[in-house]
C-alpha cells in the first residue's frame, strides 16, 4: 500500500548502469500541492531520479507509484497519461512547430475523434480540434505566452522557451510536475519571477511539484521540503532550515576540508 493521498511515491528506487549505481535506494513521497526541491552537486543523480520516475529508464529495482498505481516498467507516454509531466534540463521543444502546436501536442485529455475522423473532417473531429485549441491557448495565457502563439518555438527567446516547456507539460493535465532546472541560464530577477510563476501554477492547478535547482538561495526560498542527493545516495531531507545546517550536505557541497576548518563534526565520517 502506498501512503494515503500521495500523488507520487518512489520506493527504494535504484538505477544501475553497468557497475555504476547512479541512484540507490531513492525514496520520495509527494502529497498534492507540495513543492519539493531536489538538490545535489553535479552528477549526484538528480536527473537520473527524474528519468526513473518518468520512465525514460525503467528502474533497476524499487517501485514508483503515481496516485497509488504502480507505474514502473511502463513507457514514458503511459506514465505521462498517469499524471506525471516533466520538463528537460536542456530544453527539448518541438523547434519547428509553433508555440501553440507545441502545447497542443500534449493536449490528450478528452480526445474522442480517431484517425479516420480526421480524414473525413467529421463534426466530432472539428469539435475536438476547437476544444484542444482553446485549451492550448489557455495554457499559453497562464504562462504569459499568448503573444507568441504563432511563433516557431525555435525563434522564442530563451526564457520564453523555458516557460513554453512548462506550458506544454501542464497541457498534459498532470498531477505531478517535474521541473528539471527550470531557472538554468536565467538572471536573478527572471529566476524570482519564474519561481513566483511556479507557485502560482501549483495553486491554480493543485499540482505537486518536484523541482531540480542549482541556485541554493532560490530553492531554499520556494521549497517546502528538500531532498539532497550525492553520488546517488539521499544524504539528507527535510525542511530547508534543517537541510542547510546538515553537515553532510555542507560536506557534499563544500568538501570536508571546509568542515575541518569550521570545526564541524560529520556523524559517521571516519576520524583521522
Amino acid at each position: 500500500m502506498t501512503a494515503p493521498g500521495a500523488v507520487l511515491e518512489a520506493r527504494h528506487v535504484t538505477m544501475q548502469f553497468g557497475g555504476l549505481k547512479a541512484l540507490s535506494d531513492f525514496n520520495l513521497t509527494l502529497m498534492p500541492g507540495e513543492l519539493v526541491g531536489l538538490i545535489g552537486p553535479n552528477g549526484a543523480g538528480k536527473t537520473t531520479a527524474f528519468n526513473a520516475i518518468t520512465g525514460v529508464y525503467p528502474p533497476s529495482a524499487g517501485d514508483v507509484f503515481v496516485a497509488g498505481e504502480r507505474v514502473n516498467g511502463q513507457r514514458p507516454h503511459q506514465i505521462c497519461m498517469a499524471g506525471v509531466a516533466r520538463t528537460f534540463q536542456n530544453i527539448r521543444l518541438f523547434k519547428e512547430l509553433t508555440a501553440l502546436d507545441n502545447v497542443k501536442v500534449a493536449c490528450h485529455h478528452g480526445r474522442k475523434a480517431g484517425f479516420a475522423a480526421a480524414f473525413f473532417l467529421t463534426p466530432a473531429f472539428v469539435a475536438d480540434e476547437e476544444r484542444i485549441t482553446a485549451r492550448a491557448e489557455e495554457y499559453l495565457k497562464v504562462m504569459g505566452l499568448s503573444h507568441r502563439r504563432d511563433a516557431l518555438a525555435k525563434n522564442l527567446p530563451y526564457g520564453e522557451q523555458r516557460r513554453l516547456e512548462i506550458a506544454r507539460a501542464l497541457a498534459s493535465g498532470p498531477k505531478v510536475l517535474c521541473l528539471d532546472e527550470p531557472a538554468a541560464g536565467m538572471n536573478a530577477s527572471e529566476k524570482v519571477a519564474l519561481m513566483e510563476l511556479i507557485h502560482r501554477i501549483r495553486d491554480q492547478f493543485r499540482l505537486a511539484i518536484l523541482v531540480i535547482e542549482h541556485d541554493m538561495r532560490l530553492v531554499m526560498g520556494v521549497s517546502e521540503r528538500l531532498v539532497v542527493l550525492d553520488h546517488g545516495v539521499t544524504i539528507s531531507q527535510g525542511v530547508p532550515e534543517r537541510v542547510r545546517k546538515d553537515p553532510k550536505v555542507i560536506e557534499a557541497y563544500l568538501g570536508d576540508s571546509y568542515l575541518e576548518e569550521k570545526k564541524i563534526a560529520v556523524p559517521g565520517a571516519p576520524t583521522t
Binding site: 505521462c80 527539448r92 523547434k95 497542443k104 490528450h108 504563432d150
Partner: protein, 330 residues
C-alpha cells in the same frame, strides 16, 4: 447548418476535382493522358511517402514494395472478375465498380503489409529502418518472382485498361487531402512531434511507436492505391515495375520537394515525371541523374525546394482561419 458546412468542407476537394478531371480527360490526347496519369501516380506515391519520411521523420526506402502488394491484389481481383457483370449494372459501370473494389482491396493488403513490416521495425531508428524497408522491397520482389500464382517474373498480363484521368485525379485528391488533414489534426501533430524530438514527444504522452506504425500503415495503403492504378494503366503487372529503383525514385521526389511539405512532393513528383518523359532516350542514366540531382540539392538547398512550407500557408484561402506563421526575432 453547421454539420452541413462541415460535410461540404470535407467533400469539397472531390466535388471540384471531378469536373476538372472530366474536362482534362476530354481534351487530352491518348498519349498525353498516359503521361498525366503516370505523373499522378507518382504524386500519390511521393505524398504518401512524405507522411513517413517527412512528417514523422522516419526513413523508409521500400515504398515500391507496398505499391507491389496493392498492385498484385488489385490485378488479381480485376482479372478474376473480368467478364463478370454485376447484376443490374451495365458492363461499363460494372467494370468501374469492380475496379473500385480492387483498388480498395489493394489498399487494405498494402496497409496490412505496412503493419507487418512496421510493427517490429519501427522501434528501430534512422538507418536501421531504411535497411529493413529496403529488405522488404527485395523480399516482395523475390516472393513474386517465385510464386506461379502471381505470374513469376513475367507477371500478370492482359489487365483491363481501367485507369483513367478521373480515377487518378480522385486518387491524388484523396492522398493530398489525407496528408493535409492529417497534419492539421492531433494525430498529425503527434507525428511532427516525433520528428522534432522523439524523447520529448514520448514524455508528453505521445505513444511514439503506435503513431509511427499508424503513419507507416497509412502511407503503405496509399502506395497500394498507386500500385493498383499503375498496373491498370500499363495493363501489365510485373515485379520490374516495383523494384528498388522505383523506391529510390519516390524518395528522390520527396527529398527534392522538401521533407514534410506536401506541396513540395506534388511539385517535384510532377516535374520529375514530365522531365523523365522528355528524357526518354537517356532512360538508362536515370539513376545517375537522380544521384547528381540529390548531390546538387544537398549542397545547395538541403531542406529541399519547399522545406516544410506549404502553398496554403503562403496563399491564405479566403474564409479559413489559418494562422500564418509569424517569424519572431528574439
Amino acid at each position: 447548418m453547421r454539420p452541413l458546412r462541415i460535410v461540404l468542407r470535407s467533400a469539397l476537394p472531390f466535388l471540384i476535382a471531378i469536373p476538372l478531371c472530366l474536362a482534362l480527360q476530354s481534351v487530352l490526347s491518348p498519349g498525353w493522358s498516359i503521361i498525366v496519369i503516370a505523373a499522378g501516380i507518382n504524386v500519390i506515391l511521393a505524398v504518401s511517402l512524405n507522411v513517413v519520411n517527412g512528417f514523422t521523420g522516419q526513413f523508409s526506402i521500400g515504398h515500391a514494395g507496398f505499391a507491389a502488394v496493392g498492385a498484385y491484389t488489385a490485378a488479381k481481383i480485376t482479372t478474376a472478375m473480368h467478364g463478370l457483370q454485376i447484376v443490374g449494372l451495365s458492363a461499363g459501370v460494372s467494370d468501374q465498380v469492380v475496379f473500385l473494389i480492387a483498388l480498395v482491396a489493394g489498399m487494405i493488403t498494402a496497409a496490412m503489409a505496412g503493419f507487418l513490416v512496421g510493427m517490429p521495425s519501427l522501434r528501430l531508428r534512422g538507418d536501421y529502418l531504411a535497411i529493413v524497408t529496403l529488405g522488404f522491397n527485395e523480399i516482395i520482389r523475390v516472393i513474386i518472382e517465385n510464386t506461379p500464382f502471381l505470374g513469376q517474373a513475367t507477371g500478370i498480363s492482359g489487365l483491363p485498361r481501367l485507369t483513367t484521368v478521373l480515377w487518378v485525379g480522385l486518387g491524388v485528391i484523396a492522398t493530398i487531402s489525407m496528408a493535409r488533414r492529417l497534419v492539421g489534426s492531433t494525430h498529425g501533430r503527434a507525428l511532427l512531434a516525433i520528428r522534432e524530438d522523439e524523447v520529448a514527444a514520448e514524455a508528453m504522452g505521445v505513444d511514439t511507436t503506435g503513431y509511427k506504425v499508424r503513419a507507416f500503415v497509412i502511407a503503405s495503403a496509399f502506395a497500394g492505391l498507386a500500385g493498383g492504378l499503375l498496373v491498370h494503366l500499363i495493363q501489365l503487372c510485373t515485379p520490374r515495375s516495383f523494384t528498388f529503383v522505383k523506391s529510390i525514385e519516390v524518395v528522390v521526389m520527396v527529398v527534392l520537394g522538401g521533407m514534410g511539405s506536401v506541396t513540395g512532393s506534388v511539385v517535384s513528383a510532377l516535374v520529375l515525371s514530365f522531365a523523365l518523359e522528355g528524357l526518354r532516350e537517356v532512360q538508362q542514366y536515370r539513376m545517375v541523374l537522380y544521384s547528381l540531382l540529390l548531390i546538387v540539392l544537398m549542397l545547395t538547398r538541403p531542406t529541399g525546394l519547399f522545406g516544410t512550407r506549404e502553398i496554403w500557408d503562403i496563399i491564405k484561402l479566403p474564409g479559413r482561419r489559418k494562422a500564418a506563421r509569424v517569424e519572431v526575432t528574439p
